[in-house]
């Protein structure tokens, strides 16, 4: 990796660790391996959102040409969000694509992602199913997103109705996550979910 890329990442790493946000446990980074090519990021779900109390893990890959090209970031923790793929974790965010600028750092990227969780852009979606739910049945979207945070991202408060429906499908021999995805994308309609799973 080019000298400048390593130098930069090392400094950015320190910047994140020392930042006020890290002190408040809002963001964090850890090394994966010893060459600064890959990092693991962590962001806390912002307050007053269905993600409040959740911790999301991110995979950050630093390209050779960093900082002249953006880092490759995706969610490792499953999340229900219009701009993040519920399947792959891929993120649709302009600063990770054409709006990247060399002056941006790990800290600003993590904070931008946190902001994205607070303010979704359903008109520029990554996951069309989630985006439709967001726009057409916002209350159900909030519940679903909250339930995903409970299942995958460590939020204590659950939803007994959703849990029952998932367990019901699991009893039919469906995997837990598969059941969750099917129910979430069918607006928690059991019949449609079953139809989607078994036809």
């Amino acid at each position: 990796m080019a000298n400048i890329a390593i130098q930069r990442i090392k400094r950015e790493f320190k910047e994140v660790i020392k930042s006020d946000e890290a002190q408040k446990c809002a963001i964090n980074v850890e090394l994966v391996g010893d060459d600064y090519r890959e990092l693991r990021g962590e962001i806390a779900g912002p307050p007053d959102t269905p993600y409040e109390g959740a911790t999301f893990h991110l995979e950050i890959k630093v390209p050779e040409t960093y900082p002249f090209n953006p880092p490759k970031v995706k969610f490792v923790t499953k999340i229900w969000h219009p701009n993040i793929s519920s399947v792959t974790g891929a993120i649709c965010l302009d600063i990770l694509k054409d709006q990247w600028a060399a002056a941006m750092t790990l800290r600003t990227v993590l904070l931008s992602l946190q902001a994205l969780l607070a303010a979704a852009e359903p008109d520029d979606p990554q996951d069309a199913v989630v985006a439709r739910q967001f726009k057409e049945n916002h209350a159900l979207f909030l519940q679903t997103a909250q339930y995903w945070s409970h299942v995958h991202a460590g939020v204590p408060k659950g939803n007994s109705e959703f849990s029952n429906k998932v367990r019901c499908l699991m009893d039919m021999g469906v995997g837990e996550h598969q059941a969750l995805v099917a129910l979430s994308s069918c607006n928690w309609d059991m019949d449609r979910a079953i139809e989607q799973l078994f036809s």
Binding site: N3, I4, Q7, R8, R11, E12, E15, T65, P67, F68, N69, Q99, A101, A102, A103, T105
Partner: protein, 576 residues
């Protein structure tokens, strides 16, 4: 490393990011490069008001995008200007010495930090002995004196140098270390062990000194004296039988010497040698000269007093009346007969002396002859070389004269030049065999102080037919400086009819120069690579089947170019 304060980017060899130091107080973000996140080095400012290290922003523009890394404003290299004010301020900021973690407490202006680190006593340095240790500058001396495992030590015993970590190894080989003899246990220096074993060690088993005469007993050196005392009788017996053997051998030897002597006589019977001898005695009266073999022999014989007077007189009376060179060989033969006789009577010493002196004389004559013949062949070779050098020189002069004649012809032809291509059939064959091959005429001038041109020809094929291509090329001439460019004027190229029939059927094309063509620009190399003319001037068939005219006469083709500088007329002919 770049000197602080220097802004000339030309001196930068490796990639230089910002200043990676710990600033005191911490670096204000306005002096931080947003690309490398370090203190701005040679800062430049963008038209959108952001500062970056010069290297960083140039790399950003070339490797990433033409936009400002901070606000994505479109940006090119022309939108950047050096920010000398910021640079001055940055260089005055104070920084901790990079060795502060190693104990250096200095905090100095950034301007002087690189100078300081070079001399900083806390600067880690590699051991110059390459022991792979890294030590602080101030501890280097001590390290080299007493710690480095590769420091050179002198052996106290043998005064030879060795590296410290090799001390044990050296002690195992040092010649002056005292070791115990493995036979007798005596303490001796390692270097002397071998001598000790062969000369003094009492426990070493030795053979009796009379072993070569037949006493094969072996005993320790301590017992040797006793053996010698006890076996004196036996040893004496061995000695006496050895003495007998030697006696027999000596008498056999003297008989053998006699046999060996006789072949020396045969040597002078060689016919070639005899004729050489006679040839080198041009004056018969000087036959017995001081250098003559017989005379020398006479001297040596009388000096040794080896033979009686009668023998001596008969020997030389037969030598003198000969008086002719041709006889001398025979005389030599006789001499040797006498000599053989003498060998038997008088012993080997005197005989070999005298025969050797005869041989030496013959040797000298032979050597003289050889030298002469070598001298002669040497001078012949020299003459041959001189001759071939002269011939070469004449060829050079010929070529020079020919070239200059051609040049003069070209210079004073007043724009009308005839190119005679001799040996045309071979010329065609060559051009046809090698596609892309072209041939240029000697240069010529349009007038004495006019433009310089040459003709170019090659063979092209079109619709399975071969054509002779003809072009003119401008060339760099002596007058180009004061001539008008591009060249303009009329060019007429003809393949000439050299037959007897009248009227002449020359094949002629006239073309006018075109000012926009590169072919008429002032040439930048000795010959303009672009020419002007026809790729299909005339079909080769037409030249060879001369029904229309006699173009090839005596296997020679004549091409005429007439070039008249002047304003182009209306009639213009399009050509390549």
């Amino acid at each position: 490393m770049m000197e602080c304060g220097e802004t000339d980017s030309m001196t930068i060899i490796s990639r230089q990011e910002g200043y990676d130091y710990e600033f005191v107080p911490p670096l204000d973000s306005k002096y931080e490069c947003a690309i490398c996140l370090l203190g701005l080095r040679s800062p430049v400012q963008t038209t959108c008001g952001h500062r970056f290290c010069k290297e960083c922003i140039f790399n950003s523009i070339s490797e990433s995008s033409n936009r400002c890394p901070i606000d994505n404003t479109p940006l090119t290299e022309t939108d950047l200007f050096p920010d000398s004010c910021a640079e001055r301020e940055i260089l005055q900021l104070r920084v901790k010495c990079p060795n502060h973690t190693l104990g250096c407490t200095r905090i100095i202006d950034l301007m002087y930090i690189e100078h300081h680190t070079q001399a900083c006593s806390f600067q880690p340095v590699m051991c110059p002995n390459e022991c792979s240790a890294t030590v602080l500058q101030k501890e280097l001396e001590q390290h080299l004196m007493s710690e480095c495992v590769l420091r050179v030590k002198m052996c106290d015993l043998c005064n030879e140098p060795f590296t410290f970590n090799q001390e044990q190894l050296h002690l195992l080989t040092c010649r002056h270390v005292v070791v115990a003899c493995e036979m007798c246990g005596t303490m001796v220096e390692r270097g002397d062990v071998a001598t000790h074993m062969t000369e003094t060690c009492q426990k070493v088993v030795v053979t009796c000194p009379f072993a070569e005469h037949g006493c094969h007993q072996k005993m320790t050196r301590a017992d040797l004296d006793q053996h010698m005392a006890q076996e004196t009788q036996f040893h004496l017996f061995l000695l006496s039988s050895a003495y007998k053997k030697i006696n027999t051998f000596v008498s056999e030897l003297s008989r053998t010497v006699g046999v060996i002597q006789s072949p020396f006589g045969n040597f002078s019977r060689q016919p070639s040698l005899r004729s050489q001898l006679s040839a080198t005695s041009p004056i018969p009266e000087n036959h017995v000269s001081p250098s003559h073999p017989e005379r020398t022999l006479e001297k040596s014989l009388s000096a040794s007093g080896a033979i009686g007077g009668s023998e001596k007189s008969s020997l030389f009376s037969s030598a003198h009346p000969g008086d002719r060179g041709a006889d001398s060989g025979i005389e030599v033969n006789k001499l040797h007969l006498h000599m053989n006789h003498m060998t038997i009577n008088e012993g080997a010493k005197a005989t070999s002396k005298s025969s050797m002196s005869v041989l030496t004389q013959q040797d000298i004559i032979l050597r003289d002859l050889c030298e002469k013949s070598v001298d002669l062949s040497q001078s012949m070779v020299e003459e041959t070389i001189k001759l071939s050098n002269l011939a070469k020189r004449i060829e050079e002069i010929d070529a020079y004269v020919e070239a200059h004649l051609a040049e003069l012809n070209g210079k004073f032809c007043n724009g009308e030049y005839v190119w005679r291509i001799r040996n045309f059939s071979q010329f065609c064959a060559e051009l046809q065999n090698k596609p892309g091959r072209v041939c240029h005429s000697p240069p010529f001038y349009t007038s004495q102080f006019g433009y310089k041109f040459c003709l170019r020809t090659n063979i092209t094929s079109k619709f399975d037919e071969h054509f002779l291509a003809l072009f003119i090329h401008t060339m760099q001439g002596d007058n180009d400086d004061f001539l008008d460019w591009p060249f303009s004027g009329r060019i007429t190229i003809s393949v000439l009819d050299c037959g007897t029939a009248l009227p002449k059927k020359h094949i002629t094309e006239t073309m006018m120069s075109k000012p926009d063509r590169q072919a008429f620009m002032r040439p930048e190399v000795s010959r303009n690579p672009k020419g002007f003319g026809y790729t299909d001037f005339v079909p080769l068939k037409k030249l060879i089947d001369d029904k229309n005219g006699s173009y090839i006469k005596n296997n020679m083709l004549c091409i005429r170019a007439v070039i008249c500088p002047g304003t182009p007329s209306i009639k213009q002919i399009e050509c390549t």
